[in-house]
Amino acid sequence: MYGCDVAVVGAGIVGAACASECARAGLSVIVFDRGPVGGGTTAAAMGHVVVMDDSEAQFALTSYSRRLWRDLAAELPAEVHYEACGTLWVAADEEEMAEARRKEEFCRVRGLRAEILDEAALREAEPNLRPGLRGGLLIPDDAVLYPPSAAMFFLGRAPQNKIEFRAGSEVRALNPDGGVILGDGTRISAGLTVNAAGCGSPDLTAGLPVKKRKGHLVVTHRYPGHIRHQIVELGYLKSAHSVSSDSVAFNVQPRANGQMLIGSSRQYGAEHPGVEFGILRRMLERAAMYLPDLGRLVAIRSWAGFRPATPDKLPFIGPSAGNQKIWLATGHEGLGITSSLATGRLLADMVLNRPSEIPVAPYSPARSLLEGKAHG
């Protein structure tokens, strides 16, 4: 039986964005998830919409997607808790201050707003940071939001007769002719299938180089005004880059209700989904080096999630190398909330043969087969 034009596996923020963009363009879409909407990595995330510049391709995708978020901001329902609070990158020493200036210039020449803060301006912006920090960089157009509600909004935004969501549907395999085979053996045909299963994507597309990168978060009780921006240490760049060892970095986010999310940690090879107190402790000690009063505040929950990581830190968006009926939208690592909107838009552009606003080649799944994949 012909089920739909596009079958999407995964109702995380990435699958939801792809489904929404395809349905809005008039295609019929069925979304399958073994759980609810946004219950995977999307539920574990921080929801920082941030422009990153590890590579030109990463910058292109994150800045394009941030623009799409900003364009959509007025339409986002209250429960998405979208707030353009900006990112404050904190420099502890002269080396990190040089990095702040490099980033400022990088943004400025590409037309994005960025502002260097000296020590006094930093203290004024965030009085609870410890004294003696060197300065910082304010990126005022970055934002924060609540990811599961955003995924819900994407699905609801599509015309209802064009999109169907099947919760509790385990997909066992992708049919090479398009469509999916469900856990109970049911086959549903489709013009094409999008594997947006996040960390589950390699189970459905053999050989896909997507690995789990574990991260922890803590959420506090309500302390309105304790911090005003998403604050991230510039040392983050050094620690997040190391692909071998476990690392922690200072990364905190103010929530609209006064709560704070405290991150972050990165671990490869950790398979257990539970909280590990050793790394949690390191993460909180790191945070307390920047926000000395943190130890006096009350944390109410902690959890961990898995980022779907690729070897070159860029996602896979487009038809899979082996089969033109099986498409990929996965491997967004720690930037899937940010780049979900751009991913959905680019995927729909390719499906419909529309011109896209940014080049899609850097995210082509075929690149993982290319010799000398020397991105970074």
Partner: protein, 82 residues
Amino acid sequence: MAEIVSLTINGRPVRVPSGTVVAAALALAGESRFRRSVAGHPRGPLCGMGVCFECSVTIDGRPHCRSCQTLCAEGMEVRTDE
């Protein structure tokens, strides 16, 4: 007989046997609202075992303390105006 501990709840003096948790002292004192939710709704103890944070109160000036996990102490000041 247990020793008696004196504390204040919203400024009102209260005496309870030592070993009483603050949540129980609040209940004995007739308090039904321990705090308010983000939306302003009244909240009180739910799990009684330190997990839900619904029973948070201010103890000796420190906000967001779990009253079900804190023993009453002599001279303690408890407030339920969070």
